[in-house]
């Protein structure tokens, strides 16, 4: 077994497990990603509640664990223990299968997300197409859930969701196409639909597509950034579950674990669409300024970032420990937070050691590990920025109305994205 693992780590040409035909590693990646996304969703749950709370001058969860750190676990336990009601009037089978459709769509997308040049399950040559297609399937789960509930509010929510998808997917698709056009500006002159290929194209051209043909790339990115919020039904486009209008929209009749599957799917697809945006416009796994600051010293400095991030988190946790009230009630919480800080600190130390040990790009295990961690870190860092933005949007904006959303989709975003697409093509031809 160790030999097997090492053989993969040592392979000189970077390849995805799918590409290398290694079923074992593909399976491992799938498991890692499934576990990782689930954990990320749990973290996201806590972060969203905390960040939203601080936007809104309140504290958020504070009781379950230090600073509410165990709240998501408590929530998950509660949801699992809750009675799982299927309404008598509902279409039992479809009602049962609907959350699974959403979940499946949200998680399948991760097979082609490139966390690094070889840190992906598979490098599909139609990756972006596959991703858009599968992530749009998520809406099927919502529509089916609303239909199967056999109730008015879910039905309206489901209809809204489908109308929303229809009006946003087109603009979103066109924005993506303009990014794909940019990939054909390579030396070879051939474009690609592969997710890894798209990032590599940005690497070759030495520019994030965000800044390519300024401001065309920026506009296309902006359109995608708007459309992706609508795609995952988040504020200000959370019409399908508009709490104040439709009580809970499409999942009104859902409860317990089945309801939590919808939540899981929502957060998973939030991460997924953010990953698309990062891959297409923000240089995917590339660290910032790879072309401007390309000296090995800079490589080393940037490779310290993962360790420093965890170190910062550990420091925040430590400060939290120190600031805990002196009352004996907080004793266990303080110990818990200190242990948490120690764990983060240990991780930080580990990452820093790897960064120092693998600073020379000599192909050693440490160097390869360091490289891989750097890729995954920068990818996740960029995704995290989007996740923060999602929360920020939710705290700031009122909700769009159904017809206004369609108006924005069809009358504003679609013409702009078409124009950007045409201009990108024209500029591309002129430049090449």
């Amino acid at each position: 077994m160790p030999n097997f693992i090492m053989s993969y780590l040592d392979s000189k040409d970077a390849m995805t497990p799918g590409g290398a035909g290694s079923q074992f590693w593909a399976l491992m990646y799938v498991l890692i990603i499934f576990a990782g996304v689930s954990v990320a969703v749990i973290c996201m749950n806590w972060i969203e509640r905390k960040v939203l709370a601080h936007f809104q001058v309140r504290l958020g969860p504070m009781r379950v664990g230090p600073h509410g750190l165990l709240q998501p676990i408590a929530d998950a336990l509660k949801l699992m223990l809750k009675e799982d009601i299927i309404p008598a009037e509902a279409d039992q089978f479809v009602f049962w299968v609907a959350p699974l459709i959403g979940l499946l769509a949200a998680f399948t997308v991760y097979t082609v997300i490139p966390f690094g040049p070889s840190q992906a399950v598979s490098d599909m040559n139609i990756g972006i197409l596959f991703m858009l297609g599968v992530s749009s399937l998520g809406v099927l789960g919502i529509v089916v859930a609303g239909w199967a509930s056999n109730s008015h509010y879910p039905l309206i929510g489901a209809l809204r969701s489908s109308a929303q998808m229809v009006s946003y997917e087109v603009a979103m698709g066109l924005a993506v196409v303009s990014a794909i056009l940019m990939t054909s500006m390579n030396v070879s002159g051939t474009g690609t639909l592969s997710m890894i290929g798209i990032v590599q194209a940005q690497q070759q051209q030495g520019i994030w597509f965000l800044f390519k043909f300024f401001p065309l790339g920026l506009i296309a990115f902006a359109i995608f950034a708007i459309a992706m919020v609508a795609e995952v039904n988040r504020a200000p486009f959370d019409l399908a579950e508009a709490e104040s209008e439709l009580t809970a929209g499409f999942h009104t009749e859902y409860s317990g674990l089945r309801w939590s599957l919808f939540m899981l799917a929502e957060y998973a697809s939030m991460i997924a669409v953010s990953s698309i945006a990062v891959t297409l416009w923000l240089g995917g796994w590339m660290r910032p300024f790879p072309n401007l600051l390309h000296a090995p010293a800079w490589d080393f400095i940037f490779s310290l970032f993962p360790g420093l991030t965890f170190g910062g988190l550990a420091a925040i946790a430590l400060i939290g420990t120190a600031r805990m009230p002196a009352h004996s009630f907080f004793k266990i919480q303080r110990i818990g937070l200190a242990v948490f800080a120690a764990l983060l600190g240990f991780l930080a130390l580990l990452l820093l050691v790897i960064a120092v040990a693998g600073r020379s790009a000599d192909g050693s295990v440490a160097a390869r590990l360091n490289e891989g961690i750097g890729y995954v870190y920068w990818f996740l860092f960029k995704v995290a920025v989007f996740m923060y933005l999602f929360i920020w949007y939710r705290a700031t904006w009122p909700r769009y109305r159904f017809d206004q959303l369609m108006k924005v989709g069809w009358k504003v975003l679609l013409p702009i994205s078409l124009g950007v697409l045409i201009l990108t093509a024209v500029v591309g031809v002129i430049v090449s």
Binding site: V57, L155, I156, S244, A395, T396, P398, R401
Partner: protein, 380 residues
Amino acid sequence: MNDRSHLDLETPDKTYLDSNELVINMGPQHPATHGVLRVILKLDGEKVLGTECVIGYLHRGVEKIAENRTYTMFNPYVDRMDYCAAVSNGLGYCEAVEKLMNVEAPPRAQYIRVILTELQRIASHQLWLGTHALDIGAMTPLFYTFRDREEILKIFEKYCGARLTTHAFRIGGCQYETYAGFEKDVKNFLTFFAPKIDEYEVLLTTNRIWLERTKNVGVISGPDCIALGVTGPVLRASGVKWDVRKAQPYANYKDFDFEIPVGTNGDTYDRYLVRMMEMRQSMRIVEQAVNGIPEGPIMGKVPKVIKPPVGEIYHSIEAPKGELGYFIVSDGSTQPYRLRVRPPSFVNLQALDVMVRGLLVADVVAVIGTIDIVLGEVDR
């Protein structure tokens, strides 16, 4: 109200999955109906064809209770009608009974009443703003307004010991002298609150989504408002300059210099702007009052047992939500023979159907929010 013929509720006996109209129940348990309002919506897709409000889920028979209580005993009950503006309710009731007995509260009491009532107006508008914004999907203003409303409630608590159902005033004046530091607290609040209104406005007034969601939504014309008896900010947003504080000054409002904000379009956005400006005007009034508060007694010459002479009286004040009137018939005993309340929320709610016809479901919650109803007052 019971005539449902205009709704034609019986039509869809088939399932809702064919293209017939859809009749759905909004409430009484619904996040956006501000309590227990039940609205029967008749929809074509998302378009509202008609509405019917079903009320009474919070009916406590306040008017009947009044007939079995002495005038003094009934005073705390009025706080429970519009529980978001208890001070205003109390002012209206006390003044009505005073008018019936032909006594007047001393000047110092009048000033205290005006200060507290205007603070209550600000608090009520804050609550309205927060919930209204929440209905439209903006979560954050709710928490900002509640944070700032807390300062007003603290003043109430220090003054009379209660935060919500204050029972601040008595027939003939006020029971409590102001506490030491009352004026300082009020002045502090004014300086604290002025930038906070700007903060709310930064979040909403020029927000594109807010504008789209509120402009030309729930439009009602001035004549329509008058025909329906709508009062308060809703009426003023439609361009009718009617404010009981100016039209039939009560308490000592004629001593103060303030303006009545008026809208032009009568849409949800204008109602929003009118209420925002009203908060600023209330601050002006409070500032003048707290600077000019005279010394003197706080209780007029009122007998221990209140026995108004035989007669009837209608007295109305400008509550935060509109004209709040009390009609009292006295048979000369210690208890009212009949007491009728004209609650602004109840009357304004009638305008809901006029406002939302032809709009979408999402607008219904916006309009319910903009009318600013409190179900305790609607149902009494």
